[in-house]
Symmetry: C2
Subunit: 201 residues, 2 copies
């Protein structure tokens, strides 16, 4: 008897094309403004649900994660907060298209995103910057819950990146043990991705 | 459409009983001896396959992991290296019984261990202490592969711990961001356990 290990196909970075589209400015001008908006929305709608996607490619058979770099400083996964009542999988596909699909006059095509395994869940206990991969003791009402999903990429795809951001393929060995540069959520991706059986092509 | 989140039942630490049995000395007297044995066995049998189990209970609805503490110093998960050709799930059940089940004259009962989800895989690229949650670039033949599985504990159970060890219930908030004390493998457990939906009883 053996537990089946999920197999994930990874394609070479060279298989993907990268274009540019109009800038998408950050919604909040400062961290304080962001936490303030979180609090206002929490009072109206309750807990914020955020979804993010981990897009993995390979170079020389080593997995690389596609990260957005904003203004040459911080890194983040594509994704965003959902609207109240919005489905998390469909909502994640829509956010991925808004951020990474070519602009189109006929509306965004969300059909070629395949949302795969849930990798981790992060909780924000207070209207503060800290998040944890568990609900801290004595916290009954977290203010935000972020789910991070593995995205199964197709063999080929064209991405289009807002002009104020870069999309970088960052190797696992660069993320590992490097929360000083990438923060605790991104630095944990190598651990979370280790359970899959990768097929490189 | 929504990805189903696995539900895991956690029972209170008070549900479990803990006894003592004969000591089980470490197989190798030093780190150097351990790496030396790894190298000798690698030359005979190839890659070492190690399996470990994560046993989770709760106190006040916060998950705690059962860790073995050896000689009042380092912490480890129950589990061990498999023999060449040994099945990993049956082999893990046997190691858990050897370490944690009451001694018995009629042979060890391995039937009440339920090996669940694969949480992470660690690789040892060289005959050295370092392990990584991925195969490092340019490494074609790792020397050891360690799989860490979630164990689904029954509602009640009696453990029996070798006299030279302690079995401690360590809360996730103590492990988190604490590789200085617990090492990178144990400090990553909160991340790896975050994707489950826990039901506390």
């Amino acid at each position: 008897m053996s537990i089946t290990q999920s197999t994930v196909s990874l394609y070479s970075l060279e298989n993907y094309k990268f274009g540019v589209k109009d800038p998408q400015p950050e919604e909040d001008p400062s961290v304080a403004a962001r936490l303030n908006r979180l609090q206002n929305e929490y009072e109206k709608y309750g807990i914020r649900r955020t979804v993010e996607g981990v897009l993995v490619v390979h170079e020389h058979n080593h997995p690389h994660v596609l990260l957005l770099q904003i203004a040459n400083t911080f890194f983040k996964l594509p994704g965003d907060a959902l609207k109240p009542g919005e489905d998390e999988i469909e909502g994640l596909k829509l956010r991925l298209s808004q951020k990474l699909s070519p602009a189109s006059q006929v509306g965004l095509d969300t059909s070629d995103w395949e949302v795969g395994e849930l990798l981790s869940i992060w909780y924000r206990p207070n209207f503060e910057n800290f998040m944890y991969p568990y609900i801290p003791a004595h916290i009954t009402k977290p203010k935000e819950m972020k789910k991070i999903f593995l995205i199964h990429l197709p063999e080929k795809k064209t991405f289009s990146v807002p002009k104020n951001m870069k999309l970088l393929a960052v190797p696992l060995f660069e993320l590992y043990d490097n929360s000083a540069r990438y923060g605790p959520q991104l630095a944990a991706l190598p651990h979370l991705l280790s359970r899959f059986n990768y097929v490189y092509s």
